[in-house]
């Protein structure tokens, strides 16, 4: 009846085989919320859809070695409901809770949000700030890459056509560590980020920042990991001087576009403000986790 084929493999190897053997464009379905929209708009016209949801372990969250393993097709709703994850990685969870509506989160997955490769994807800056890695399966086995290396440009990833993400790892936390994610949207809910900022910090017993990761979304072709922002925070107790340095570093990192949602100047300004505010939340949370 259709020019489109659909397969729901039961194993990772079967999925890789299907992707490798596809005669035309093959698309991986993990949550499907972006893929279905693209199918509907005609932006993508695949010959094959490989639905990964039937692969054991691809949906679910496990605590491993003090960290977390999140299956690639785990829905945003399941992530939002995971109390242990929310306690340790509140920024990742709050970012995931911002993907579309609650209904969209009922299907949408971290892998989809990442591999759709939109600069404005909400979960991505939070995952980058958290130091998350992606486990990518392919014909040659599995490789683990930092999340910030997955997306190479709008709509483009570093995955080969016969590869797909099977899970994400969030590392074990040092004491007094926490993250936060903030985004700016014009509408109160249900909108695409004009700017997103994820901040992840570790403090020492005196409240001085010993490690930090800061990531910005929607201000460049891909989500950015901004080393200068991290450097602004490390060694500080988040005083006004550190905040000013952070703000400046965030602005300097931005290479945004001008569009209906926000001008270049506006996005740059917002990036600085959001980085400050997200840092303040992350510091407060980290201090509370002593």
């Amino acid at each position: 009846m259709s020019s489109l084929s659909y397969a729901a493999p039961a194993t990772v190897d079967e999925a890789i085989g299907l992707l490798a053997g596809a005669s035309g464009l093959a698309k991986v379905l993990s949550g499907g919320t972006d893929l279905l929209v693209q199918l509907r708009s005609g932006r993508t016209r695949p010959a094959l859809i490989v639905d990964t949801k039937k692969i054991p372990g691809i949906i679910g969250i496990r605590e491993v070695d003090g960290g977390f393993v999140i299956g690639a097709a785990t829905s945003g709703a399941m992530i939002g409901e995971h109390a242990a994850l929310a306690a340790v990685y509140p920024g990742v969870v709050e970012a995931t809770n911002l993907i579309g509506s609650t209904q969209v989160q009922g299907r949408a997955s971290l892998a989809g949000n990442l591999c759709n490769a939109s600069p404005a994807a909400d979960s991505v800056p939070a995952m980058i700030a958290a130091g998350a890695t992606a486990v990518i399966a392919g014909p040659k086995g599995r490789r683990t890459v930092p999340v910030e290396q997955v997306v190479t440009g709008p709509g483009r990833t570093s995955l080969a056509r016969d590869e797909f993400i099977v899970e994400f790892h969030l590392p074990k936390r040092a004491p007094r560590s926490a993250d936060a994610y903030l985004r700016f949207i014009p509408r109160t809910e249900m909108d695409i980020a004009v700017v997103g900022a994820g901040v992840n910090v570790t403090l020492d017993a005196a409240g001085v920042c010993t490690a930090a990761r800061v990531s910005l979304g929607a201000v460049a072709p891909t989500a950015l990991l901004v080393a200068d922002c991290a450097a602004a925070l490390v060694g500080s107790k988040l005083d006004e001087h550190a905040l000013a340095k952070l703000d400046l570093a965030a602005r300097d990192a931005c290479k945004p576009i001008d569009d209906k949602r926000g001008t270049i100047d506006f996005r740059i300004k917002v990036a600085g403000v959001l980085a400050r505010r997200a840092a303040a939340i992350a510091f407060e949370r980290a201090a509370a986790r002593s």
Binding site: M1, S2, L4, S5, Y6, A8, L29, G32, T33, L36, V37, L39, R40, S41, I49, D51, K53, S75, A77, E81, G100, S101, T102, Q103, V104, G106, R107, T188, E189, M190
Partner: protein, 165 residues
């Protein structure tokens, strides 16, 4: 190519043979199973008119391939009423005039059921508004919708013997 599907819809187990992988859960319900209470407003997950509960969670039925829902349990607006008695959420929507044209209403009610079950909003109108923001209402019945959800939630909590305040 055909796809055998097992779905439990509104408590009824159904074995369906699908002849086309492109069929969404929404179009399966509306065009092939005569369950037209679930509405199509945008077909892109942007309006929420097609909200159903899939394995107890609210989703946009337009964003799920039917084939991908094999083995799932689906609750649609047609399955909410208990015999002739309206569900408290349905009754509250009428009492608070949480509807005008009614087209978004089945989705609003399914979303409200999901929201109440998630238990995250509490008795806070602000959080109810946030949690119901995946369901557009062009008529602008939001005030009544929020009141209806809060009212129904209180009544349901009372039924469960929990503190209704």
């Amino acid at each position: 190519m055909s796809f055998p599907l097992s779905l439990t819809i509104n408590g009824v187990a159904r074995n369906i043979t699908l002849d086309d992988p492109r069929v969404t859960l929404l179009d399966l319900l509306r065009e092939r199973l005569e369950l037209t209470g679930t509405k199509k407003g945008c077909d892109r997950g942007q309006c929420g008119a097609c909200t159903v509960l899939l394995d107890g969670r609210r989703i946009n039925a337009c964003l799920a391939l039917a084939a991908s829902c094999d083995g799932a349990t689906v609750l649609t607006i047609e399955g909410v009423t208990d015999g002739d008695a309206l569900h408290p959420v349905q009754a509250a929507f009428i009492a608070h005039d949480g509807l005008q044209c009614g087209f978004c209403t089945p989705g609003q009610i399914m979303s409200a059921l999901g929201l109440i079950d998630e238990g995250q909003a509490g008795d806070d109108p602000e959080r109810v508004r946030e949690g119901m923001s995946g369901n557009l209402c062009r008529c602008g019945a939001y005030a009544g919708i929020t009141e209806a959800v809060l009212d129904a939630q209180r009544r349901l909590a009372g039924q469960d013997g929990r503190d209704a305040s």
